[in-house]
Structures are given as structure tokens and as C-alpha cells.
């Protein structure tokens, strides 16, 4: 088990190094940071000074090590577009995205898993057919269009919910939250639903497929033969074993939900990391893009590690196998 952990950790470090290298190459070789900071009309002498200040006159390897060192200390340089330290802006924007992603994920889990289980256990019933068609519709619906329709119905036509922004936000000092005010909660409803829609469909289809696979196995047939009640067979035997891959899926979806938040945030002008990233891409703000790339990579690698650990906890067979490996 320890060797398994060490191997995964080693892989994670390598991935992070590669991503940081890519981010550095982007940061260093795309566009001209001097022009971006000083403007096109700057003189050569001015550029010389800033070049020395930024360390751009040193060998590339040294620059990479400096960049890496900075990243490790949470220093991502200055945003070309905003003229402020990248990390400060990122920390400011983080709460909005986290609140959006977590509420979206919660909705998706609460709706998606039961719907998937129902559709798997009641194959052929009208409701499961409707659920299945709805899920196909759900994965065919681009999330930005989903958001647009919600805005059209609930903000423009009915006037119930605000169409953009976070509403009233409470500042807790280290965190800003929209969850503590009615306005903030109202503003969260449509973005969270938009984000959840695709995930509900996705989770439902995966849970259903996984459950169908499990229901077909021998030990389920055997449990039935033993005369156990349907409930015991379905929920104590089948669902439990379905949940193992589902945990992986949800873990991995947490990453993709943050990626999809980019789009949702753009539709609702939600002031989070995703909107920041899109604005940075549209204006070729390379230092911001590099920082976002590293941040997202760290997030994904972290999630993958946690999912691997959860696997060990949930599935005792894996523990047994690694013990055998060691012997």
C-alpha cells in the first residue's frame, strides 16, 4: 500500500512539473511581456531596465527555476491586463467559483444517483424511459444555451431571479460568500442549475450503466437465489458495489465541473475564476493563463490522488492485492 502511494505521489509530482514547464514556456515565449507591461511606445532603455528587473536577461534554465520557485511560494507574477499580482486576483475570485461548483455538484449528486438507480432497477417502466430520454437531452444541450433559456424564462419573462452577478455578498475577511443573504442565494440558483444539468445527465447515465452491469453478476444472482428480499439485494449488495466506480466518476467530474464553470460563469457574468480565465484568454493575458493552468492542474492531480485513496478505503480487494505485491 505504501509503495502504491509513493508511486502515485511520484506520478503526481511529474505531472505537475510537466504542466509547470508548459506554463513557463507559454509565460516566457508567447507575446512580449515587456510590450505588455510598458506599452508599445516604450523606449529600448526602459525595456532594458524592466528586462533586468524581471530577470528576462538570464539563461532560460535559470528563469525556469526562478519561475518554479515563485510558483512554489505562490508567486505567479503580475497580470498583464490588470497590473496586479496574479495570486491576489486568484484568491479574490476563488470563493465565487468554489461555491458555484460545490452547489452544482451537490444538486447533480442528489438528483443524478437516485435517478440512475431507479432507471437501472425499473427498466422498461415509463418513468425510467422518460428519465433516459431526458438525460440524452441533457447531454445534447450545450450548457451555455441551458443558461440562456433559464435567463430568458426566469429573469427576462418572469423577473424572478437576477440574470447576472453574485447578488449580495457577505465578506468574512478570508472568504466572500453569497450563501448568507437572500440576494446571494437567489443569484446562485440559475448558475448552479445550469452547471448541474449536464452533470445530472452524465451521473445518471453512468450510475445506470454501472448498476446494470452489477445486477448481471453472479453474486447478485446468488443473493437472489438465497431468497433475500429485493431491497436487500438491490441496496445492500448491488448499490454498494456500484458506488465504487461512481465515487471515481464523481471525483473526476468535480474537475470537469470547474472547467464547465468557465462557461456558466461567462453566461451569468459570475465573478469567479472561470470568467477571469476567459477574459485572460480573450486579451492574451499570458501570466494569468499560466497561473490558471497550474492551479487547475494542481486541482485535478489532487482530486485524482484523493480518488485513488478513496479507492483503497472503499475496496478492500485493492488493499489485499498490494499486500500480496509486497510479499
Amino acid at each position: 500500500m505504501l509503495s502504491f502511494l509513493a508511486r502515485r505521489l511520484g506520478q503526481a509530482v511529474i505531472v505537475m512539473l510537466v504542466v509547470t514547464a508548459v506554463a513557463f514556456v507559454m509565460f516566457r515565449f508567447l507575446g512580449d511581456p515587456l510590450v505588455a507591461i510598458l506599452g508599445i511606445e516604450s523606449t529600448e532603455a526602459q525595456r532594458e531596465i524592466v528586462r533586468a528587473e524581471l530577470g528576462l536577461d538570464r539563461p532560460v534554465a535559470i528563469q525556469f527555476l526562478n519561475y518554479l520557485g515563485g510558483v512554489l511560494q505562490g508567486d505567479f507574477g503580475i497580470s498583464y491586463r490588470l497590473g496586479r499580482a496574479v495570486e491576489t486576483v486568484l484568491v479574490e475570485r476563488l470563493p465565487a467559483t468554489v461555491e458555484l461548483a460545490v452547489s452544482g455538484m451537490l444538486i447533480a449528486i442528489v438528483v443524478g444517483i437516485p435517478a440512475g438507480v431507479y432507471a437501472a432497477l425499473n427498466r422498461g417502466r415509463v418513468l425510467s424511459r422518460i428519465l433516459l430520454s431526458a438525460s440524452l437531452f441533457g447531454i445534447s444541450m450545450p450548457s451555455f444555451f441551458m443558461g440562456l433559456i433559464l435567463i430568458w424564462v426566469f429573469a427576462v419573462t418572469l423577473g424572478w431571479l437576477p440574470s447576472f452577478g453574485r447578488g449580495q455578498v457577505v465578506d468574512l475577511g478570508w472568504w466572500t460568500t453569497g450563501l448568507l443573504s437572500a440576494g446571494g442565494l437567489k443569484a446562485l440558483v440559475m448558475p448552479a442549475l445550469t452547471l448541474a444539468a449536464f452533470q445530472i445527465a452524465m451521473i445518471m447515465r453512468l450510475v445506470r450503466a454501472e448498476m446494470l452491469e452489477v445486477v448481471r453478476t453472479d453474486y447478485i444472482r446468488f443473493a437472489r437465489a438465497r431468497g433475500l428480499s429485493h431491497r436487500a439485494v438491490h441496496y445492500r449488495h448491488a448499490l454498494r458495489n456500484t458506488l465504487i466506480p461512481v465515487v471515481t466518476i464523481i471525483g473526476l467530474q468535480l474537475g470537469s465541473i470547474i472547467a464547465f464553470a468557465v462557461i456558466t460563469e461567462s453566461v451569468f457574468q459570475w465573478p469567479g475564476l472561470g470568467l477571469l480565465f476567459l477574459q485572460s484568454v480573450a486579451t492574451a493575458d499570458v501570466s494569468m493563463m499560466s497561473a490558471y493552468l497550474i492551479l487547475i492542474a494542481a486541482l485535478f492531480v489532487g482530486i485524482n490522488l484523493v480518488v485513488d485513496l478513496l479507492y483503497l478505503v472503499i475496496d478492500p480487494r485493492l488493499r489485499g492485492r498490494s499486500e500480496l505485491e509486497r510479499a
Binding site: L30, L148, I151, L252, G255, F260, V281, M289, A297, F300
Partner: protein
């Protein structure tokens, strides 16, 4: 089994190519009994015809500024108050007929989607074949890259590709290469899903006797890969490709919607929705909603057909 008139030993019979297998499988038979698949295929056929000959199908040329007048702007669809029988689905902010704009837009969307998928197939199949056949460090490196990329969602990679090209080309020149960048973004963000199954299948096929026989006959490695192994993985590539096309069309629409895709001079469906988004609040909802519905119908049809192909071509599910 026979080839022509001569009965031959089973082991020496050429394995049927994917085309023969497609014809011999029950796909056609299944297709005729699946109403959803028939409807989906018919809709796609309609899209294909409209895309191949938009000048004939569309009432106006959506890319020709001489054919629309600002005085016709913001006309509602005919069934609403203020509709004009000349424009069945209304007009947009520049007086462009919505039907024509949608037909030309869907053409751009489909072209970008198809080209992107094709690029992904080329990269993915090549990488999978080489990795599986050559093995060793080539295999290890390719699959590690694939692993790393798989942890990032396609949309992020596509946005990243767009951002890099923007920084590299400069803002002004970027519009000229926008379509090519989109195709590249879709291709680079989707190749892994082909590379993995192709590599897996190649690993299996590589050890078959017919490959050993081909090698002994002195056939070059690339020829074995292309002529002997590739046909055996084409069915799964076809299935993945269909579902990927739906994802690619959504990806293009999404990028265009957030302003990173096709420029408004030759709008795709996503660009049209982006344009309409600005008028949602002033009551001209059709400019965004109508192209959006067309986009959903297009993607839904592709998904339905993809689901059908997956079930029909996968004997395990029968």
C-alpha cells in the same frame, strides 16, 4: 467460408474488411426497426443537404451584406405579432433572414466539427497504432501524455489552444485563422479517446498469427499497421467518432458563444447565439433561441445516431 468458387482453409481466409462486416452485420436491419435512429438520420441528412448546397436551400445568402437591409432588422417570426411573410423565422439585428443565417451557420458548425473530429481521428489512430505496434518507450511516452491530457476536460484544452494562438498571432490576425484554430483545438483536445482503444486493439492484434505471417512475408511495418491492423479497429473508431462529433459541435458552439470561436462576419450557430444574447433582454428572443434550438436538434440527432451505432455494432450488448 469461400472466396469466389475455391473452398479454402479457414485460417488462410483474408479477414473481412470493416466494410464487408458492416454490410454483413445486422446494422441495416436494426436501423429499419429503430424509429429514433431513422428520425435522427433523416434530420442529419437534411442538415447535410442544406450544408452542401446552402445557396439553393436558403432563401437568402447570409454572408452577403447586399442581401439584407437594416430596415428589416428585428422582425419577429411570422406566427408572432410584427412578423413578415418574407422571413419565416424573423430577422436578426442587421435584417438578416434567420433561416438563411441558421443554414449557413449550421454549415460552418458542421464543417468545423467534422474537420476537428477528423483531425482527432488522424492523430489518435496514428498515435494508438504506433504506440501499440512499436511498444517500448514510444508506447510509454504516448500513453503518459494521454493520461495527463485525459485529466483535463476538452473545453479547457480547447480554450487554452485558442489563448495560445491569440498570444502567438496577435489579436488582429487571429480572426483570419479562427476556423483553423478551432479545428486544431477540437483535434488536440479529443485525440486521446481514439488513441487508447486503438492501442489496446493493436496490442491484441499484434500477436495474432496473421501479423506474424505478414511480417515473415517481408511486408513493411507501416503496411501491416495500415492494411492489417487498422481495418480491425475501424468499427470502434466509427462509434467513438459519431459521439465525438456531437461533443465537437457543442465545443465549437461554446467557444464561439464566449467569443473565442468563429468571428461574426461568417457566423456559426454559436456565433449567432452570441449575437442574439445581446437582444434577449429587449424582447427579441428569437435571435438567440431559434439558432439554439437548431443546435440542440443537430446535437441530439448526432447523439441518437451515435447511441444506435454503438448498440448495433457492439455484439456484446445484444
Amino acid at each position: 467460408m469461400t472466396v469466389g468458387e475455391i473452398p479454402v482453409d479457414d485460417r488462410t481466409v483474408r479477414r473481412p474488411g470493416w466494410r464487408d462486416r458492416l454490410a454483413r452485420s445486422d446494422v441495416l436491419h436494426d436501423f429499419m426497426r429503430d424509429p429514433a435512429a431513422i428520425v435522427a438520420a433523416s434530420i442529419l441528412l437534411l442538415f447535410a443537404v442544406a450544408s452542401l448546397a446552402p445557396q439553393i436551400v436558403a432563401p437568402y445568402d447570409a454572408f452577403d451584406p447586399n442581401q439584407f437591409r437594416l430596415t428589416d432588422a428585428f422582425l419577429a417570426p411570422v406566427w408572432l405579432e410584427g412578423g413578415d411573410p418574407r422571413f419565416l423565422l424573423g430577422t436578426d439585428d442587421q435584417g438578416r433572414d434567420m433561416i438563411s443565417a441558421i443554414i449557413f451557420g449550421a454549415r460552418v458548425s458542421l464543417f468545423v466539427g467534422l474537420a476537428g473530429v477528423l483531425l482527432a481521428v488522424l492523430i489518435g489512430v496514428a498515435a494508438g497504432l504506433v504506440a501499440g505496434f512499436v511498444g517500448g518507450w514510444v508506447d510509454a511516452v504516448t500513453m503518459r501524455v494521454a493520461d495527463i491530457q485525459l485529466t483535463f476536460p476538452a473545453i479547457l484544452i480547447a480554450v487554452m489552444v485558442d489563448g495560445v494562438s491569440r498570444a502567438a498571432f496577435g489579436q488582429a490576425d487571429h480572426n483570419q485563422v479562427a476556423v483553423a484554430v478551432l479545428v486544431l483545438a477540437i483535434g488536440l483536445s479529443g485525440w486521446v479517446q481514439y488513441a487508447r482503444p486503438v492501442r489496446g486493439a493493436t496490442l491484441v492484434e499484434r500477436n495474432r498469427e496473421y501479423v506474424a505471417a505478414a511480417t515473415m512475408m517481408g511486408i513493411a511495418k507501416w503496411a501491416i499497421m495500415l492494411k492489417h491492423i487498422l481495418p480491425n479497429v475501424m468499427t470502434s473508431v466509427l462509434v467513438i467518432g459519431t459521439i465525438h462529433l456531437a461533443v465537437a459541435v457543442i465545443l465549437e458552439a461554446t467557444l464561439s458563444f464566449v467569443g473565442l470561436g468563429v468571428p461574426p462576419t461568417e457566423p456559426s450557430l454559436g456565433t449567432l447565439i452570441r449575437i442574439g444574447n445581446g437582444y434577449l433582454f429587449s424582447g427579441e428572443w428569437w435571435i438567440a433561441i431559434v439558432p439554439g434550438c437548431v443546435l440542440v436538434i443537430l446535437v441530439l440527432s448526432i447523439n441518437l445516431l451515435g447511441d444506435f451505432l454503438r448498440d448495433a455494432l457492439n455484439p456484446r450488448l445484444k
